[in-house]
């Protein structure tokens, strides 16, 4: 039973018991009207409209294709653009009559998408115009994306964004300038997401957000070159910090719910990155790769597009993180130690970049410091969990510490008995603390007060 149904039920019983009169009951019902059960119907109507238009289009295409060769060249060309013209006329009518029906707008968007694709393909066939898959995809993306803004629909941007990775996939060896085009179009998708949100529209928002996020991660995997040593550290720490701080930024409070997945993703990246950074092996590789690249860098006086892109992306996220951190710091300094990690990452990167040899005092001091900071981070999560009565948070701290310590035992050449004792100790500690904390809660002991994060 939803809240309104519950309220209506209560109003009936209040009226029956004489607590309120009929007029009051009516006013209350008017104040809290039952939600119109239109959303599901709208969704169903939208889906069936889109499906219907797609099937009709396919049917018409099949009919035409059967007799295609018997028609003259010019007739074929004219027929090729008729569906597009029809869809355009209908779209214009929707705008002029200010028809806001979602199903009609989505339907006409789909019709415009497919009819344009049909026109391009059929005219290419009729005149034997050569063309590539990638140029066709690019044209479709560029012509489809604005339809979302214009007709206030979700399907065209979703289709355009979904085509993006396929388009970029045509340039696997040298994404080059296409990478820039990819991200520009993706940014247009983000722009549309913002616009969509500002327009207070809900239907399709999640689908759009999901596609935007998915395309982001696919695009990142396809385009981030990992060419320049160590720069990925800057990139990842910057990206993760941006995702977390963007979600916590008061400016985006309306977006809070939508940004939670990004925040979780950001914390996950930082925790994994932090654990990895505590190892000398990783730093050895980074420091040594700098020595290798320094030799070859002297011979190369120009940067490749991939290197330029890699640097710009890493710096972009890093400065984004700095900006959001500054905004946050002015209000209340962040308490989570993880949000300071990106400063430490930059310090390590600079040490390697400046040519500090691996194994030198400075380098060992740095990795040692990172390990101490990681220990403090684990402790902080445990303490914070207790303060906020949050088992999730203190368990995160426990696991963070357990992994930090436990991984050393897997990594080092220790005998099995020592390892077994170490793991028993860590596991026992985690279990014991949890049991103790649950018992404490059951006894009703008030949790310690702490500052809210």
């Amino acid at each position: 039973m939803d809240r309104i149904s519950w309220l209506n039920f209560e109003i009936d019983s209040w009226q029956k018991d004489g607590i309120i009169d009929e007029a009051t009951a009516r006013r209350l019902r008017e104040r809290y009207p039952a939600p119109a059960p239109a959303r599901k119907k709208n969704l169903l109507l939208t889906v069936t409209t889109i499906l219907g238009i797609t099937l009709i289009s396919l049917g018409v295409i099949s009919l035409l294709a059967h007799n295609w060769e018997n028609l003259s060249r010019f007739t074929r060309a004219v027929i090729s653009i008729l569906p597009l013209l029809a869809a355009q006329v209908y779209g214009l009518r929707l705008i002029l009559t200010k028809d806001e029906t979602t199903s009609r707008r989505e339907g006409v968007s789909v019709a415009l998408f497919f009819s344009f694709a049909l026109a391009v393909s059929l005219i290419s066939q009729t005149y034997h115009i050569p063309g590539s898959w990638q140029s066709f995809l690019r044209l479709m993306i560029l012509v489809t994306l604005p339809l979302g803004f214009i007709l206030k629909t979700v399907t065209p941007p979703v289709l355009a964004l979904a085509l993006l990775p396929f388009w970029l996939g045509n340039f696997p060896r040298d994404p080059g300038v296409h990478t820039l085009q990819f991200w520009l179009v993706w940014l247009a998708g983000i722009g549309y997401l913002v616009y969509f949100h500002k327009s207070n529209r809900q239907t399709g928002f999640r689908s759009l957000a999901a596609v935007v996020s998915l395309v982001f991660f696919i695009g990142l995997g396809m385009t981030y070159p990992f060419d320049l040593p160590g720069l990925w550290l800057i990139f990842l720490s910057g990206l993760a910090t941006v995702l977390i701080l963007a979600a916590e930024d008061p400016f985006h409070s309306r977006w809070r719910r939508s940004l939670i997945p990004g925040e979780v993703f950001g914390y996950t990246i930082l925790i994994i990155l932090f654990q990895a950074l505590c190892y000398q092996t990783l730093w050895k590789e980074i420091f040594e790769s700098f020595q290798t690249v320094r030799v070859s860098a002297d011979q190369v006086d120009t940067w490749t597009t991939a290197e330029l892109y890699e640097s710009l992306l890493a710096l972009g996220f890093y400065f984004g993180a700095l900006f959001l951190f500054y905004r946050r710091f002015r209000e209340t300094p962040p308490r989570s130690p993880l949000l300071y990690l990106f400063f430490l990452v930059l310090a390590g990167y600079l040490l390697a970049r400046l040519g500090v040899p691996h194994g030198s005092f400075m380098q060992i001091l740095y990795v040692g410091g990172l390990n101490l900071f990681a220990l403090y981070t684990g402790y902080w999560f445990i303490q914070d969990g207790f303060h906020h009565d949050s088992p999730g948070r203190y368990n995160l701290g426990l696991f963070f510490l357990a992994f930090l310590v436990g991984a050393r035992f897997v990594d080092s050449n220790l005998d099995f008995v020592t390892r077994a004792f170490a793991f028993l100790l860590i596991g026992g500690g985690i279990l014991g603390l949890n049991i103790w904390f649950q018992k404490r809660r059951a006894e009703g002991a008030p949790p310690e007060k702490g500052q809210s994060e």
Binding site: I81, L84, L92, A119, T126, Y127, H128, P130, L139, I150
Partner: protein, 222 residues
Amino acid sequence: MISWLTGQSWRLWAFLGLALIQIYLPIHWIWQHESALESGRLIHLATRPVDPHDILRGKYVRLSFAAESLRPPLPAYPGARAGQQALAVFTPGKPNPAPEPATDKTTPSAEQPDFWKITRLVELHREPALPETDIYFPVKITGVHKGKISRVSFPFDRYYLREDRAKRAEDLYRRLSRQRGKFAADKVRAWVSLRVQAGKPVIEELYFDGLPVPAYLDSNPE
């Protein structure tokens, strides 16, 4: 800003703008190709066999041309390199004036047109521009060796036809385009007629033994 965005007037103009772009592109292609087919100069190019499949536009006959291989290689203009676009100037004539006996026993059943060949390659954006009397269109240089251009690729390579006939046409194309040994113009059985207007080539028809492909397929049932 947002109030402007949520208004209707910009939406109407934006829609009209986008609709104009969407309709302009196909109409422009139609006009451009119809114009070239109507008043472009006619040339013929002998074909060579290949076999592809396009996932987007259904089946088609992929074309390759004897004139894309330059025998003998032509002098390269300064700065010419593989991958670059250049203007190819054509003149009528047999690509290989010294035919050798072909191993294909069948002989062409129709009168052979003059097959055109490239006689000169110049920069794409050259000054002064080529005279209007010249027949030329852009090509991509694919082979440069020791200051000579040995190979180019034409900006068209597809002949579309109905899907149920494409397979047979492809097989015929491969068979009729094949010649063993050196290229012999008088043994050519598959060729393309092309209309060229101001540097824009448009495929007019693919011929098998002097007949347009649809007519050839009709008159030679399986």
